[in-house]
Point group: C2
Chain length 341, copies 2
DNA sequence: ACTCCATATGTAAAGGTTTACATAGCATGG
DNA sequence: CCATGCTATGTAAACCTTTACATATGGAGT
């Protein structure tokens, strides 16, 4: 039974007393095979413990059953949850996932391009806004691909992300509902498209509440902790201080909180602070951070579903799928302090 | 150049004016080929942009260049850092990594077993202490495998982990150096072998300091936050309270801290608390947690290196590799309070 | 009874590699 | 000058599938 060398389709055929073609058909197109024959084949498969040799199959078919997932950094805690969504969806359709990380290094990217060229992956999931294949990007013959989080610069590649405008709108609406009017947006319009969209959500919310430009304060940072701290420093040099800091992401919010605490202020007593992303530590901060949760597993699932559709249909059903993220209310927001109102 | 269908070895052979065998040799056994010929072949490869079709190669060779990594939960933040180590090491040897997660579900495990049987992976990395293939485990024909973190129950499978005894010893030595003598160990001897070893480290440290059994307090939990909280409740019902809680892992330590805070105690003022693992949030807790850092990336790298060695040699060079983990001193430990000394 | 068609199965080629074996060329040693 | 052996290359088989095409079987329609 459990021989040294795995059973092949031929072993099955011999035992079932049919040809290998029939075995193949019994497996992949059962309706094309007589009931009685299918039974014999299934028995033979059970006896031999046969499983299709994926290598041979992929070779014959000209495509593999693997999806390559490329991220700049697989150590990113964001990544692993998306991975779950990706993996579940892939596996339930008979695909496996292959992972690679580039650390934004073109040389590494190139190695993954080789992977693709050597037919090892039928599709590609990209976590980066830029094709990571250096100067060969232009001539690269890519398999069906989809982006995660951000549109992929340069390619007609569909992507799955989050509705950043709507998410930011939820935040600003909360702050306004709490009574804030002087709301600072600590942003970053350069790095990622998503960040610009969050700014748009902020502006839309302020518009809707008819809060004039005079009360809007926008600081351009770069999405890092340090830039949050810096924003506080700069804003304290002006005369009009906000009562709330709406940050483009959680990193920035952490920086802002560090800055405010360093000056001896209480959060949310003196200032309210919000983030965006819901990084894992957001819940452990003190105060815990009110933020927007990225539906990571759902994003992964959707992205993979889209890719699989692409793989079978050829045509992208839609070029952009935006999921609506949820507001997570914690303890970093309250009504504006008397002094700041 | 960039034709619709990828170049094959035959295209290269035609252009270089040699046989396909020579091309293959020029690529994989360059020393077997005349210099002049090798040059011609390399030029032809450059012209055609040829890359070896991995499917065909794996089929012919009877083994793939993929390593399957199976973990109970790839969303675990521990996981992603180890993944980096695994991936780097694998890639630098021409292997790719395939990931799967079982959620401790035998059905899922079985699907990965199919993966293996269908020759899609040359080796296996296991994050679980038990072969995740349900009842088929016994008859499963596994490729070379290595475990991560824990020995794999049941198989003669080498593994890479951390020296838990030495790690625990570092913790207890620190506590003793701070002046503690009544040190409670909040443990879990059932779930994981690693946890029993940490207990051994504790006992060894107490022995070395000649602290008698009378001063040792051991609570058997199950490694969860809740069990840490429970330990506090139980211990407060006894008459001899410890001055320090040495926890078998960070989860337990979190629970202990919750329990102590609920009773209004200050950490480390009233009681010292230590963990083990250095989970990402350990640094964000208040007070930040003194604990043992798992060298995750290094573990991943070592595990993959061991597997690759297995793959080429056939013989495991050693059956257990233990890395020495570092103590991370933060703010949850101080000298014992007067009252508890 | 004969033709035709549908259904079920078989035969063989093709997919791209690697490699055992065969061959050719050439130098070395007698 | 021939036998021998070494080096470089070529030929063809094998790895395991899938599937176009061919064939066989049986039933329906005339």
């Amino acid at each position: 039974m459990s021989n040294s060398t795995p059973a092949t389709i031929e072993d099955v055929a011999r035992i079932a007393n049919v040809s290998i073609a029939t075995v193949s058909r019994a497996i992949h197109m059962p309706e094309k095979v007589a009931n009685s024959t299918r039974l014999k084949v299934n028995q033979a498969i059970a006896i031999t413990g046969y499983t299709t040799n994926a290598m041979a199959r992929s070779l014959r078919l000209g495509r593999s059953n693997m999806i390559l997932v490329v991220a700049p950094d697989i150590g990113d805690p964001n990544f692993s949850n998306i991975l779950i969504g990706l993996e579940n969806e892939a596996r339930s359709h008979g695909y496996g996932i292959l992972i690679g990380h580039t650390q934004n290094d073109a040389q590494r990217g190139l190695e993954y391009l080789k992977f693709l060229n050597s037919n090892q992956a039928a599709g590609l999931i990209l976590f980066t806004g830029i094709l990571p294949f250096g100067h060969q990007t232009m001539t690269a013959r890519l398999p069906p691909s989809v982006g995660v989080f951000e549109p992929v610069f340069n390619g007609g590649i569909p992507y799955v992300g989050v509705d950043d405008i709507a998410g930011a709108r939820k935040v600003v609406d909360l702050l306004i509902a709490e009574g804030h009017r002087k709301i600072a947006f600590i942003g970053d319009s350069r790095t990622r498209l998503a960040y610009s969209r969050r700014r748009m959500g902020y502006e839309a919310g302020m518009d809707a509440a008819e809060i004039g430009a005079g009360l809007r304060i926008v600081f351009e940072g770069d999405g890092t902790i340090e830039s949050g701290r810096l924003a506080v420093e700069q804003l304290f040099m002006r005369d009009t201080l906000p009562s709330a800091f709406m940050c483009v992401n959680d990193q920035t919010a952490i920086g802002v909180m560090i800055g405010l605490k360093a000056r001896g202020y209480d959060i949310p007593g003196d200032f309210s602070v919000t983030g965006f992303d819901d990084v894992p530590q957001a819940v452990f901060m003190s105060p815990s951070l009110t933020t927007i949760r990225q539906p990571r597993t759902a994003i992964g699932k959707q992205a993979m579903a889209l890719l699989l559709e692409l793989l079978s249909d050829g045509e992208p059903p839609e070029t952009e799928i935006l999921l609506l993220p949820d507001l997570v209310v914690r303890n970093s927001v309250s009504a504006p302090s008397r002094a700041r109102r």
